[in-house]
Amino acid sequence: MFVLLRHLQRVRRQAALSRHSGSRSLAIRHVDAGSCNACEHELTATAAPQYDLQRFGLDIVASPRHADVLLVTGPVTRRMEAALLRAYEAMPEPRRVAALGNCALGCGVLADAGELAAPLHEMLPVDIRIPGCPPSPQEIAEAILAAVDAP
């Protein structure tokens, strides 16, 4: 255990993360609407010691009932449409929608058109756009922080 904790300390020192980040908080609910799993990997990586997004008050929460932001990955398949909309409806106002990755943005989607519902932006008001295939953890962190800090 101590070896692991020392190792983590070293990683954090190398990453040169700032300790303080001002006071803010944002609760994010992720919904996979048919991604290839790469966006999920990168979103998970934002919690890794090299990025540690939690230090900015950003948290992935377990329920849309607790969330400020609905973070959507994937091109929205027919079979995920209903669940996605129900997650959005479950969120308290004010709420924001973030599209994570090119598929969620409707760009360069690889699929049989018959298996997809409408693009995300036709279904829900998209406020935060995070392009990339997939966007790196750095890009995800920067895009979300920029949205939080926007006046």
Binding site: L8, D32, G34, C36, A38, H41, E42, P49, I60, P134
Partner: protein, 482 residues
């Protein structure tokens, strides 16, 4: 280090055999009796021209049995090869085939609204159902699980996947062979290299091409880089599953280092775009290869050190033993593959049977530390496989990775089949080409093969242990859903 690797292999050909519908069961049974292992099945064509093909493997060889399914009805083989259950259900949903004797033929890809139509009936005093998903509490792919429980004890689980079905196989139809590669690759981000290599090799088989040494080396480097970051990720995931944050974070940090190395070597953290049909998508000069070797050596040492901490953490180990146990015979019968199968003691690693890659006769898979088939064994299996991957990469990167082109070696075939070991097990790709364009693409990934085994291993366990069992298999949903 100089170990004998494979010489240029003979061209991989597929024995494609047409079978009369009435002789279908007999033909499949005789393959199985002959020691051939069922490794996938797919339907193709429309209406009266529908066909049904079953794939069998033995050593590096592959056989494709095809029967006419224009009458919409084919005898089932699930009693001969229980691993064919999902394949038959999928063909029923997507191609309207019926399988005589497969009763009840429950929907799999098609989401039927009535729960009773797609779940196994479970009754008795005190039994009830718990529905979980498709959206889960963490950053997890979408999929639904219907648990039949008594108290906290799971009697049975019906996984309902395919929420992420994007129709990638259909979308690829009609594309020129090289242009359709992204459809196979993007079936899954975490298995992108495996899927792309499987697709490229299947196409090359159909086009009559063989991979020269440089191409085999380039692809093997990519496959092992993919295995490396996935195994690190999967060990982190199990630590998260038991609430052991230091282990989770340590391995998440190691995975991040592996992915940064991917970006350095191939220009992408998931190695997208590094595989192409008939040629190599990467080249690594000697100095970069040497730097990567150094970085990998350091990563290997840190991973070994971190692993020792987990292996000797009594509270972590106490959470893993006996959880989600899968018996060896059950694993074989259900067609389990990859680390999950090897953790049960099945000697099943497609890397040993891949003449189109670098491994050759010198490849020695890691021995399972204790093949009990439970969550602990699956975790230990991955940890034991890491040094093999580090060793392979060290050997491969001792030389620069050069650009390469596949060489013509014979006439074109109507079908190409390729099997590649992904981080989750054997992935099988079948490609039918007509005039250089894709007529049918079928991808049966290691995750697809393992989902029924995961469901089987879940029965008898406690409901709160399911996330841990799920993470100990760490299967992709995207890979299965396509």
């Amino acid at each position: 280090m100089s170990r004998p690797r494979a010489a240029t292999p003979p061209r991989q050909t597929v024995d494609a055999i047409a079978v009369e519908p009435l002789a279908w069961r007999e033909a499949c049974a005789s393959q199985i009796e002959g020691g051939w292992r069922f490794c996938g099945a797919y339907a193709a064509g429309v209406w009266k021209a529908r066909r049904w093909t079953a794939l069998f493997a033995r050593g590096a060889g592959a056989i494709a049995l095809t029967t006419d399914a224009g009458g919409a009805s084919v005898p089932t083989i699930v009693d001969l090869a229980p691993a064919a259950s999902w394949d038959e259900r999928e063909a029923h949903d997507l191609y309207g085939l019926r399988f005589d004797g497969h009763e009840p033929l429950r929907p799999l890809v098609r989401h039927a609204p009535e729960t009773a139509s797609w779940t196994v009936p479970v009754g008795g005093e005190g039994t009830y159902q718990v529905a979980v998903g498709p959206i889960h509490a963490g950053v997890i792919e979408s999929g639904h699980f219907r648990f039949h429980v008594v108290g906290e004890r799971i009697l049975h689980v019906d996984p309902r996947l395919f929420y992420k079905h994007r129709g990638l196989e259909v979308a690829a139809e009609g594309c020129e062979a090289p242009a359709a590669l992204p459809y196979a690759q993007r079936a899954c981000g975490a298995c992108a290299v495996t899927n792309a290599v499987a697709y490229a090799q299947a196409c090359e088989g159909a086009l009559g091409l063989v991979a020269p040494r440089a191409l085999r080396r380039a692809r093997t480097v990519l496959l092992e880089l993919e295995r490396l970051y996935n195994h690190l990720n999967d060990i982190a995931a199990v630590c998260a599953g038991v609430g052991f944050a230091p282990g989770n974070m340590a391995f998440a940090a190691l995975k991040e280092r592996a992915q940064r190395l991917n970006a350095e070597l191939a220009g992408h953290r998931f190695l997208f775009g590094a595989v192409a049909v008939g040629e190599s998508g990467i080249a690594i000069a000697a100095d970069r290869a040497e730097r990567a070797r150094g970085a990998l050596r350091e990563l290997g040492q840190d991973a070994a050190r971190a692993w020792r901490e987990i292996a000797f953490s009594a509270s972590v180990q106490a959470r893993l033993g006996g959880v989600g146990a899968l018996g060896r015979e059950d694993a074989a019968e259900l067609g389990a593959v990859g680390p999950a199968a090897r953790a049960c003691g099945l000697a099943l690693d497609t890397r040993a049977e891949s003449p189109g890659l670098w491994y050759g006769a010198a490849f020695a898979p890691a021995a399972p530390p204790a093949p009990r088939g439970d969550a602990a064994a699956r975790l230990e299996m991955r940890a034991a496989e890491l040094p093999v991957t580090f060793e392979l990469l060290d050997e491969l990167l001792a030389e620069p990775i050069e650009a390469a082109v596949a060489a013509p070696a014979g006439p074109a075939d109507p079908i190409g089949i390729s099997r590649v070991e992904s981080p989750r097990g054997e992935t099988v790709c079948a490609v039918e080409l007509v005039g250089g364009a894709v007529r049918r693409l079928h991808l049966r990934t290691g995750s697809y093969a393992n989902w029924p085994a995961l469901a089987h291993a879940t029965a008898g366990n406690l409901l709160p242990d399911f996330p841990l069992i799920n993470k100990s298999f760490e299967l992709c949903y995207a890979c299965a859903d396509r």
